[in-house]
């Protein structure tokens, strides 16, 4: 019994998979807190799609895929910013146009190149077939993103909650608007080879959303988000070994289950709180003699907190 449970740890590819999902999920979980608070979910989605032409071109030119992907992601962010500043179309629409256009170019190139790259690998990654060198590459990018977040994280937080105050304090708002997109692009590039596009979009939204439901302070939020992301990633890879399913999709589904659990608990807790409030008010009213409540007064009691 114990042997069967320990089986995944005996394979070196499984151990590498455990390491790489942890490495990718740490910076993404922290970034997801910023994204969820600011309402930038489409941005992660857009950059993740827009890297495709970069990957194909890098493959054709035989330069590291990460470099091509990063340049393409950056192109998407800059083009979106430029178009938005020079015309009257809303930012999310512009983003949709730019990333779908780039993705389409990527698909055409991909089809023409007829390479041994697989589209499913780009979409879902190849967690189990990862090489040591890409583990190191991913680790380096993750550490870099983490360092920047540790050093400038408080500035970014101020930027998100109150951009005007940030500007008054001398933080370059425009620079950091693009700075966040660069960080996003970097962490997506790091994640892409290992876990693919779908999981990186999900890792940039779901942990933060879970954390926002349960915490009231930013520090707590980051901790909760990290816990959710790391535990789901490890457990997802572990379960996919037995289910024989795609690890990336399994991780996304696990995170969704966690979100559902927290969400249902929260609805239940809210209801309980409303009930307690009503009972308390009733108790106070019936206890105080000079304030003898009649039935008609009771009907006027507030039903919502």
């Amino acid at each position: 019994m114990l042997d069967t449970l320990m089986l995944p740890f005996q394979f070196s590819f499984m151990n590498k998979a455990f390491i790489i999902v942890t490495l990718t999920s740490i910076p993404m979980a922290i970034l997801s807190c910023y994204i969820v608070l600011k309402g930038w979910s489409l941005m992660g989605d857009a950059i993740a799609h827009a890297v495709l032409p970069g990957i194909v071109i890098a493959h054709l030119l035989a330069i590291p895929l990460a470099v091509g992907a990063f340049i393409a992601g950056l192109c998407c962010a800059l083009t979106t910013g430029y178009i938005k500043e020079n015309c009257r179309i809303r930012e999310d629409t512009v983003m949709g146009i730019v990333f779908s256009g780039m993705f389409a170019v990527g698909i055409i190139l991909f089809h023409q190149a007829n390479s041994e790259l697989h589209l499913t690998h780009v979409l879902l990654g190849d967690v189990l077939g990862i090489s040591v060198s890409s583990v190191i590459e991913t680790g380096m990018i993750s550490v870099f993103v983490l360092l920047i977040l540790l050093i400038r994280g408080r500035d970014l937080m101020l930027l998100i909650f109150d951009p005007q105050q940030a500007q008054v304090l001398g933080i370059n708002v425009r620079f950091w608007h693009y700075g966040i997109q660069v960080l996003l692009a970097l962490s997506i590039v790091a994640a892409l080879q290992a876990v693919g596009m779908i999981l990186s979009i999900s890792l940039l939204i779901t942990p933060g959303a879970c954390a926002l439901l349960v915490s009231k302070r930013f520090g707590d939020m980051v901790v909760v988000s990290l816990c959710v992301a790391i535990s789901c990633s490890l457990l997802g890879v572990y379960t996919s070994f037995y289910l024989d399913s795609t690890p990336a999709a399994t991780i996304v589904l696990l995170m969704a289950v966690v979100f559902c659990g927290i969400f249902c608990h929260k609805i239940y807790a809210d209801r309980q709180a409303v009930k307690n409030q009503q009972e308390k008010t009733l108790d106070i009213l019936s206890a105080s003699p000079q304030n003898s409540a009649t039935d008609r007064d009771l009907e006027k009691l507030p039903l919502s907190p």
Binding site: V36, G39, W40, S41, L42, G44, D45, H49, I83, N86, C87, R88, I89, R90, D92, T93, V94, M95, G96, I97, V98, S100, G101, F103, A104, V105, I107, I108, H111, Q112, L119, T120, L123, L124, I198, L199, I201, S202, I205, T206, G208, A209, L212, L213, L243, D244, S245, T246, A248, A249, T250, V252, L253, A256, F259, F263, K266, I267
Partner: protein, 286 residues
């Protein structure tokens, strides 16, 4: 010359051009409304959310439109529910649900890899569409087109000013639900031509391009339909020669249209913006 006319000699090419043009026109019509409300993310989410439904329908041997419709509807309901019951912003709820549904679809497909062609769901393949599927798409598109041509003025009023619509005796909720049903039906149809990953382009880009070229809503609709029609026709035609993915070529053409409009549009374009800025500076210093 003969070489250029070659695609018209094949029945499957003519059929594909007809179906994709029809779908392109209706999607472009919808895009004019979506752009008004800034609902681009919703179309993207709907197209991704239909994947598990399509996967299950293929596995069970049902018509795939039923599966797609059910899972799309389920996704829409859960987005609304999360948004109403928590502090999460709308885009977070949408992003969360669509990645989850998409992952569910891929998870199901990875459990039984041989039954469905993943590439076909993601990329679409209008050139190899089965006659029965093509018929479904034509019926859906024509029904949506009829609805939109009859009700476009009411819809416009609802989207611009809901209260005014109430006063005029139009029920905004009923129209919005109908509009969403049309939108999800058309995302389904567009999945056949351009695939799940690029549906967002055909329901956003034509409307946005038209918005740069005109200020009047009826003109926006007409321009947007023209862009949808020509890009779909030309894209399908070109894909015969390039031997490429039809959907990606259509989307590329539309993005090209957008870029041209963005740079050269008479009033809203980049050049006229720069010119106006310069004139303002000159008059300021004069």
């Amino acid at each position: 010359m003969e070489y250029l006319l070659e695609p018209f000699g094949y029945e499957y090419m003519v059929n594909a051009m007809f179906v994709s043009a029809l779908i392109g026109v209706v999607c472009a019509f919808l895009s004019a409304f979506l752009m008004l409300r800034g609902w681009s993310l919703i179309a993207d989410a709907l197209s991704h959310a239909t994947v598990p439904g399509v996967a299950i329908a293929y596995m069970a041997g049902l018509p795939f439109s039923i599966g797609a419709f059910v899972s799309g509807g389920f996704a829409a309901v859960s987005i609304l529910f999360i948004k109403r019951r928590s502090l999460l912003k709308e885009d977070v709820a949408i992003g969360l649900i669509f990645t989850t549904f998409f992952a569910l679809g891929l998870f199901l497909l990875s459990l039984s890899p041989s039954t469905v062609d993943l590439q076909r769901i993601l990329m679409g393949n209008i050139l190899a569409i089965a006659p029965w599927d093509a018929l479904q798409m034509v019926i859906i598109s024509i029904a949506t087109l009829l609805f939109l041509t009859i009700y476009w003025k009411d819809l416009l009023l609802v989207f611009f000013d809901e209260q005014q619509a109430w006063m005029a005796g139009i029920s905004p909720i009923k129209l919005q639900i109908l509009f969403f049903a049309c939108l999800s039906a058309m995302t389904l149809a567009a999945m056949q031509t351009v695939g799940a990953l690029l549906v967002i382009a055909v329901v956003v880009t034509p409307g946005a391009t038209a918005y740069l070229l005109s200020d009047k809503f009826s003109h926006i609709i007409i321009i947007s339909i023209c862009i949808g029609l020509f890009s779909s026709l030309l894209g399908t035609y070109l894909s015969y020669f390039i031997d490429g993915v039809t959907g990606a070529i259509i989307v590329c053409l539309q993005t090209l249209c957008f870029l041209v409009a963005f740079i050269f549009a008479p009033k809203q374009g980049l050049f006229s913006h720069i010119k106006r800025r310069k004139e303002a500076l000159r008059s300021h210093y004069a």
